[in-house]
């Protein structure tokens, strides 16, 4: 038996799902059961910076007017992309609705135009109407998520040069997957939009390439 045949037959005795499993999965898929992961991903993205920065004596900051507030304790990393991160507060919206909603809060949402993330391959968009500040856009074909937070910012102090990438003249923090965070992440603070966090299962270079396609207004 050659290696291709060996591979094809490897675990081929694995049985098909039974009727009960099939019915259970179908019911779960079609009844809109809430996703398993409902924690607020946005806070986690920022906590990532706090945790990563600890060794350098820095922290991520969330701005409240002119006041800076350090983020709180550490939570376990996000394990799933593409699900509603806001729990019961989450609301599915279209991209047009998102842009309009953010504009009403004074934010100009930058739109990526990359093969990995563009206006034609958007999957789901969740918004947190409770705050009006946070939204997540998921691109299922690449697994990438863009997390928008209007009132969030980043303190770069102490981060080594290899964790900072300049994109459109703005310094972004880049984290390959498998560090303090399961996914690759790019934290990209944009003046008109707040903080845009890109998360994805692929290499961090994918996220940087997507970030470079964001159309940014001054």
């Amino acid at each position: 038996m050659n290696s291709d045949e060996l591979l094809r037959t490897f675990r081929s005795e694995s049985p098909p799902p039974d009727e009960a499993t099939t019915q259970r999965v179908y019911n779960r898929a079609t009844t809109g059961r809430p996703p398993r992961v409902t924690r607020r991903r946005l806070a986690l993205a920022l906590v990532l910076v706090a945790v990563t920065g600890t060794g350098f004596g820095v922290s991520a900051l969330m701005r409240e007017g002119s006041r800076s507030v350090s983020l709180g304790g550490f939570e376990p990393g996000i394990t799933t992309l593409g699900v509603n991160p806001f729990g019961a507060d989450g609301k599915l919206v279209t991209f047009q609705q998102l842009v309009a909603e953010k504009a009403s809060h004074g934010y100009d949402i930058p739109i990526p135009d990359s093969p990995l993330a563009n206006s034609h391959n958007i999957g789901s968009i969740w918004e947190n109407p409770a705050t009006g500040e946070e939204a997540v856009v998921y691109y299922p074909s690449s697994g990438i998520e863009l997390v928008y937070c209007g009132s969030c910012g980043v303190d770069y102090t102490g981060f080594p040069a290899d964790q900072i990438e300049t994109i459109h003249g703005i310094r972004a923090l880049v984290f390959p997957a498998g560090g303090p965070y399961i996914f690759a992440a790019v934290l990209f603070p944009i003046p008109a939009a707040g903080l845009v966090t890109l998360l994805g299962p692929g290499p961090v270079s994918d996220l940087v390439s997507v970030a470079r396609t964001l159309r940014i207004n001054p």
């Binding site: 291709d4 591979l7 094809r8 098909p16 799902p17 074909s141 697994g143 299962p201």
Partner: protein, 172 residues
């Protein structure tokens, strides 16, 4: 007439579940297949009617499988080391079964050491039976990248297994 989610579920659930079970065992397959179809159902109305459903579903599943790649690697290594496949360990009859075939165990070892993206492409091809272009669609990769990685990965597996076979012959 538009495609229905029900028809897609009926056609794709069993093969997708079996593919996931071969990779990670029945219970994880239950969970990931359920999550895959839940995501698909939520996004069904947004799916481009011109886009084939199958690669889209496997693309969603691939994103979920990625979070289990360390577990998959551990299971493959355990199989290579012990001859007992953890994928079947939930099955009481299979738990005692050992596979004495050195080549199968070496295959498990070789699969364990592949990079995540290499393993993904190889198994989508060999177990899910997706074509190169379907894999490219599922993973959002250029077709040329899929072809070259698949070719390279198969070549590596072949060489590794040949080396093992050679060593076995020399040892006799």
């Amino acid at each position: 007439m538009g495609r229905s989610f029900e028809a897609a579920f009926e056609a794709e659930f069993a093969p997708l579940h079996r593919y996931l079970a071969r990779r990670l065992g029945q219970s994880v397959a239950d969970e990931l297949a359920a999550e895959t179809f839940a995501v698909a159902c939520r996004n069904w109305d947004r799916l481009d009617p011109a886009r084939p459903v199958r690669p889209w579903l496997y693309g969603i599943a691939a994103n979920l499988v990625r979070h289990h790649w360390r577990k998959e690697r551990r299971m493959l290594r355990a199989y290579a080391r012990t001859g007992v496949d953890p994928v079947f360990a939930e099955d009481d009859e299979a738990v005692e079964r050992t596979d004495a075939d050195t080549r199968v165990r070496e295959l498990a070892a070789a699969l364990a050491e592949l990079r995540r993206d290499e393993r993904e492409i190889l198994l989508l091809n060999a177990w899910a039976e997706l074509t190169d272009s379907e894999i490219a669609d599922a993973l959002g990769l250029p077709l040329g990248t899929v072809k070259s990685r698949l070719h390279r990965t198969r070549e590596r597996l072949r060489n590794q297994l040949e080396e093992v076979g050679q060593e076995a012959v020399e040892a006799k």
